[in-house]
Amino acid sequence: MNAQQRGITRIGAVLSMAVMLPSVAVAADSCVECHKQWESGSSDPTQVIDQDVHFQRGLSCADCHGGDPKATEAEAAMDKAQGFLGRPARQDIPQLCARCHAEPTYMRKYNPNLPTDQYAKYLTSQHGKRNSQGDSDVAVCTSCHQAHGIRSKKDPFSPVYAANIPGTCAECHSNAALMDRHGLPVNQHWDYAQSVHGQALLVRGDRGAPHCASCHGSHEASKPGTIAIGNVCAQCHGLTRDLFAKSPHKAAHDALGLPECEVCHGNHLIKKPTDDMLGTGSGAVCISCHEPGSKGYQSAQQMRETIEQLKAQILNGEAVVKQAAELGMDMGDAEYALHDANTKLTQTRTYVHAFSPEAMQAPAQEGLHGAQQAEQEGKNAIHEFQFRRQGLWLTLLILILLVGGLLLVIREMESPPKSRR
């Protein structure tokens, strides 16, 4: 059914409703009763209203649209003199929702934990500001939450459920025609989906992974560039941010007006960091600022060497421990020490953000010690294994000699007297 056919069907339905209405018995909600008769599309209001959190809590169509849901005639039910609003103007939707959602006393009756500052935040957002200026392109409440069939954000079918948020934002922010009007790029969702965060949320289903709103805010969604990147990343990467704040890089970034983490890691397309990003190799980000021979250049080299040394020691330890384990030796303690050494490696990588070779030494040395200990335990176990085999063969030799001796004694004892010496 195309749009024109659908329009004709709806007009027909409204006309027939006008004829039928007088005969409709007094219903609990005449809006739903009547509209159901001509709404058949899966996303039509009366088809999705049952899933709506407002409807489930006893609110009716009239609470947003006005009118009288108890009236049995269409004219009376949708009488503008009686406060019927009809379809609210897009621009007015935030204010309409705010009538309840910005009212703590009212909201407390339904959900005491639900914040009531969404509207205030929205007004500070880029969307809110532009909406106030009459820009009808920008998002309003229904753009993200839908108009009817509004679900809780904990509902996996909700467009604002964590894993669905990137897709919801992308409905507008990947729309080239729409974004073109505002001079905005459309590659954010694509980049995010490829990033370490996007992979965690969208591929692995890790709901703790950040999505658009985690960094940009939801109702208060801000224009890029107005957010202090370091503070955003620090929501999850607290230690890294603390180390950075105390590092020589902090003052340099501030002086040059550089966005802290973003300079090395990017924004939407944040890839899983690799050790190659550190040092003075071709893939290193350090060399984009630090000239060969400079102190920063030397520090980058030293830091990379520290990490490579620890990695090499862990690899050595793992190889020896694996060899011992394959021989059937119990390497539980050594495996635990290696696990601990790997944790120290992660810590050492985090301490890179202090941008000081000395600051990395404490976790690196602990990791080295653990990996060396594991390697030694592996070597001891291999030695023990060889000792066990040698011991067994010696014991078997003694047993074979014993058996041979006993058999000789028996033979000697049971041989006929004549053959005895």
Partner: protein, 356 residues
């Protein structure tokens, strides 16, 4: 003190003449089937190894859900030769049951249970059941995942037995489910109750063999014998030395593993199965249909296993031809079918386990 002085010392105080005469006059039949006579002695040696290694393990083992796994790991990694003691204990347990089964089968097919040795047979069958009990209770003691869930399944099967089953299940578990109390109870059974039963029955079994001597197979006509001491005893020593070599070799080349610590709240891992000597029963239970003539299949399977056990114990009475010194082919065929079923089902269970 020299050996002569010691002998004189003892002889002056005790009547050792009778014992000496018994040992010197005791003879053992010697024929083409004599090989099977050594399996009783081999089982005895393996039980001895179990007692010695078990006593050593008790020095460090801690019977609680919190400490059992860690203590066994400690024995295997930190205690000098602890790994060897535990591996020997685990391997000798399996070999003891295998050896007891071979001994039982040889006694069955040579019809050594015929009068007057009926009670020797009964005590022998009971000893095999006791050894299996040792295996079942000992399996749980390291408190690893496989043992935990195998014990859960094993005690569930025990609960199927009509009448006493549910009571026995609660008694073994110490509650409605396998837990810390189960471990304590299994430990108690493993190191106290079962050993007491074993000592009593084994003493009785060996005493009966000594009093009645060894049975000569019906098929052997000539009455050739050899002295028990030193001829048969030296042969026993040869067998023991060889078995000791086997136990040490398998313990060193395939040491007992420990697996993962049991997590009572964790999911049941795949491939849960009991020790090999229970596999045929386990597989029978799995293959039995849910219901037969309105009766639960599991109940019928457990019932049939019980009847088979009872029939095995009562062989000396239902094999009437043997009582009259005759061999009937039907009894031999029944034995072969029973043995083939046990071996076949065990093999099938192992195959299924590897090709799920």
């Amino acid at each position: 003190m020299s050996s002569k002085r010691l002998r004189d010392f003892l002889c002056a105080r005790y009547e050792l003449g009778a014992l000496k005469a018994m040992v010197s006059h005791k003879t053992v039949p010697h024929h083409r089937h004599s090989f099977w006579y050594y399996w009783g002695g081999v089982t005895l040696l393996l039980i001895g190894i179990q007692i010695a290694s078990g006593v050593l393990l008790l020095l460090y083992y801690r019977p609680s859900a919190q400490e059992a796994f860690a203590s066994v790991r400690f024995i295997m990694t930190k205690v000098q030769f602890g790994w060897l003691v535990r591996s020997v204990h685990a391997w000798a347990a399996n070999l003891a049951i295998f050896s007891a089964m071979v001994h039982l089968a040889s006694v069955f097919f040579l019809k050594a249970y015929r009068p007057p040795r009926e009670l020797t047979w009964v005590t022998g069958v009971c000893l095999l059941f006791l050894l299996m009990g040792f295996g079942f209770t000992g399996y749980l003691l390291p408190w690893n995942t496989l043992a935990f869930f195998a014990t859960k399944v094993g005690t569930e099967i025990a609960g199927i037995v009509p009448g006493v089953g549910p009571v026995m299940q609660v008694f073994l578990r110490g509650g409605s489910d396998v837990g810390d109390v189960t471990l304590t109870r299994f430990f108690w059974l493993h190191i106290m109750i079962l050993p007491l039963g074993l000592m009593g029955l084994m003493g009785l079994h060996v005493l009966m063999v000594q009093l009645q001597g060894m049975s000569q197979p019906l098929s052997v006509r000539e009455e050739r014998t050899i002295p028990f001491f030193p001829n048969f005893f030296l042969r026993d020593l040869v067998a023991w030395a060889m078995v000791l070599g086997v136990v040490l070799s398998v313990s060193v080349y395939w040491p007992a593993t420990l697996g993962e610590q049991a997590d009572p709240f964790g999911p049941t891992p795949a491939g849960i199965e009991p020790e090999w000597y229970f596999l045929w029963m386990f597989q029978t239970l799995k293959l039995f249909p849910g219901h037969i003539l309105g009766i639960e299949g599991e109940l019928i399977a457990v019932g049939l296993t019980g009847v088979a056990g009872l029939a095995l114990m009562l062989v000396p009475w239902w094999d009437r031809p043997a009582r009259e010194g005759k061999s009937h082919w039907l009894v031999t065929v029944a034995g072969i079918i029973g043995l083939a079923y046990v071996i076949g089902m065990t093999g099938y269970a192992v195959w299924i386990g590897r090709h799920p």
